[in-house]
Symmetry: C2
Subunit: 454 residues, 2 copies
């Protein structure tokens, strides 16, 4: 792979310029006004994949945003790697907290700044460029397929049907994904566990119109007060989620597993300093690493109701709402949890209000065994470029589609991501280190080498 690696070094500045092109497209899947940007982004990727050397690259429609599919079949008898990534990005609000425009990428302090710089345009594009390098130097050792979707940030709603409809086309030996982070630049890791997700929206309705809080205050249930009470009751003072049967299927770690799990380097002081908090808060009896890695959680992602403008308005709002998501761990099932949540929330609502509960999206938790040939190839590639064997890591994040891939395509996924905590994905001022981008491309090339040798 020496020629491919040299090719990467020679072309790395052009790679960044090309990445900037796709970062400029505001492909926010959560906002319907960006529908055309989704198609534009998909088409851009198809062109890029064709130029990189794909035999075939197409924008394939779904009932939602299109999927980009591409392939290069070196020889049918050779193994096949299926690359998964996504070209959609998170919304950018609060936009006033960005130091640079989210869709006008810039390089500053050795980093690429902009929405999607890491998640997942930056990381997906590393695969396109690794592929180009291997094709250009005649070093591609196996078949490659690309599946880059446009709905990951909103739950990959249409991808499972698309996968089921194109099972044969997607036949492969393993799925390779870069949509996760390293523990630290000097502590490389491979994500071998992901939490599942169950994302709900609740609406509490009281009186049929906003009321004067003086004339009615104290006599009529205030939906914002009631919502606060209902939300507050979902997690008790020990950090336990109170939904009946919520923990029934949670797999408890053995003492030995917990020991191993807590061996990854972690400084609580640095963690608190980085977030500027005096104290962490979570489920009693578990460490911070356990709380995000192997325990479920419940978070309000958004809450709103009543007057939120400048000054004061003495109003009892007619409605108040919240977006509430739960992270799930093996062997919790997202659809079961959605049902438990809905039943519980409806049951605890007082008769003075009406509640409406909706499931917005979800996905199952995922565990990747560390004894797969593809895992070993990824570990070897990282050791080659980082000079250090990676730690297996249980991430608190979710890529709901990963467990679906296993169910539908029968394929395991290797989560070899190159992000870092400081990249602030999903937040204002997302960025991605140039070094991460370059070394990621090189590591991917070595993955192919070791995987093809298996």
């Amino acid at each position: 792979m020496e020629k491919a690696v040299a090719y990467i070094k020679e072309n790395q500045e052009r790679f960044v310029e090309e990445l900037f092109d796709v970062l400029r497209i505001p492909s926010i899947s959560a906002e319907s006004c960006h529908k055309e940007d989704m198609v534009k982004c998909a088409q851009w990727l198809v062109n890029s994949l064709l130029k990189a050397g794909a035999d075939r690259a197409v924008v394939m429609p779904t009932e939602g945003n299109p999927v980009v599919y591409a392939e290069k079949i070196v020889a049918p008898e050779k193994p096949t790697v299926l690359i998964y990534g996504h070209y959609d990005v998170m919304p950018v609000d609060p936009v006033d907290q960005w130091h640079t425009a989210p869709f006008e990428p810039v390089i500053k302090e050795g980093r690429i700044w902009g929405r999607g710089a890491n998640d997942d345009k930056g990381q997906s594009f590393m695969h396109v460029k690794a592929f180009e390098a291997m094709v250009a130097t005649g070093e591609l050792p196996c078949n490659v397929k690309f599946m880059i979707e446009g709905e990951e940030e909103i739950g990959s709603e249409h991808l499972s049907k698309w996968c089921a409809d194109h099972k044969e086309m997607l036949a492969a030996d393993v799925i390779l994904v870069s949509d996760t982070s390293l523990l630290a630049w000097d502590t490389p890791s491979i994500t071998c566990g992901l939490r599942g997700l169950c994302y709900m929206e609740v609406e509490v309705t009281g009186p049929n119109k906003d009321l004067h809080s003086g004339l009615y205050g104290g006599a009529v249930a205030n939906p914002a007060n009631v919502l606060s009470k209902l939300v507050a009751s979902l997690v008790d003072d020990q950090g336990h989620i109170t939904i009946p049967h919520f923990y029934d299927k949670v797999r408890e770690l053995t003492p030995g597993e917990r020991d191993a799990f807590n061996k990854a380097p972690f400084s609580l002081e640095k963690y608190k300093d980085a977030l500027d908090i005096d104290d962490v808060q979570g489920e009693a009896g578990y460490t911070t690493m356990e709380r995000t890695g192997v325990r479920p959680s419940l978070d309000v992602n958004g809450i709103w109701g009543g007057y939120t403008g400048e000054g004061t308005k003495t109003v009892i709002p007619s409605k108040a709402s919240a977006k509430i998501s739960m992270r799930l761990v093996p062997d919790q099932n997202f659809e079961e949890i959605a049902k438990l949540f809905t039943a519980h929330f409806e049951a605890i609502a007082p008769s003075s209000v009406k509640v409406c509960v909706k499931t917005l999206h979800g996905g199952e938790p995922y565990v990747s065994p560390t004894d797969l040939p593809a895992y070993r190839a990824a570990a070897k590639a990282i050791e080659k470029t980082f000079g250090k064997a990676p730690l297996p890591f249980y991430s608190g994040g979710s890529i709901p589609i990963i467990s679906t891939f296993e169910k539908i395509l029968g394929l395991k996924s290797i989560l070899m991501g190159f992000g870092l905590d400081r990249d602030a994905i999903h937040s204002p001022n997302e960025s991605y280190g140039l070094e991460n981008f370059y070394r990621g491309i090189e590591t991917i090339v070595w993955f192919y080498r070791y995987f093809a040798e298996k």
Copy 2:
């Protein structure tokens, strides 16, 4: 007063046209972008008062929005009525719930629709027109002064200093105010009690930026969850406010007073039907009338944090906020309550977050004795025009400045308002009945007659 009453009948359509002019000015005091509209509105009122027959009418500056002052001195030895009203109006959001544009008044179903139609442009303007009718017909029996301010909906911040600075100019025998409602069209009433107000804003800050709820969920305090918990804890399951010492100064009604208080006609079924709720909710052991009339309350007027847009965003917000107001009853003091609230809210916040508590505005509760000559004049005037003696009524609303008038000017206020519950003040689709407007003007004229006779 027969000539004045005839004059009102002859001119009533013009009165409504004139009212429409002032309703078209979007004088929302809570929104700083309307600063110029405030001045425009004040100037409109000055012109209107001069045309109605004032000796003098001026726009008087304050550090906030200007006050409109006008007077007509018939004879120094005669009694003087000081009219108080306000030309500022509430914000109009949620604007998509209005059936007609809030600042383009229309008449439909015998009612005037638009922001301020009742509160308080419609009601204040009745006084201008009653004054005009008496001047035009030579029937004005006493001196009249007008003080119409532009900050009532945001706490009359600058009016108390303005009153103190112009104490002599404002010398009068009583203040007459129309900024309240009748119990019902066939149950006229005079408001003799008003609750006080203490309006706070709280902000809960967790991590220094929005975080990915997967990577951090379960390990870091989520400000929206914490805010819900703190807000929920402020009122217990019995509807009692949990702030220590909150009830220390609340005057309890005697059994006799409670009996009398609950004699006003009230149908719980109609109340629930009108609001489309299955159940009321409030402090245990008190009736709905007591809960709004003589008991304090605590309401969330607005709550916000995190992602509130379309679709989903898996974020732990860095901050979450709420506007929380308390209605106070005799002998609670707003500044004391603000201090108790602040100390309590800071004390209950967990160490995993920081909280910031601000007092936005407030005012004291007020009670008007029913044995004042001016009260008796108002009762007689209402009996004259409605054919029924009015009930004394304790309203849940607040006009914080009323108790300030007593302190600074040494004057009691008579709260003779002509609104109805259905007017939806502070809500979308505010309206005011034409009949209320006309009969209100006539009643005011009779008030002058009986008051001057005293």
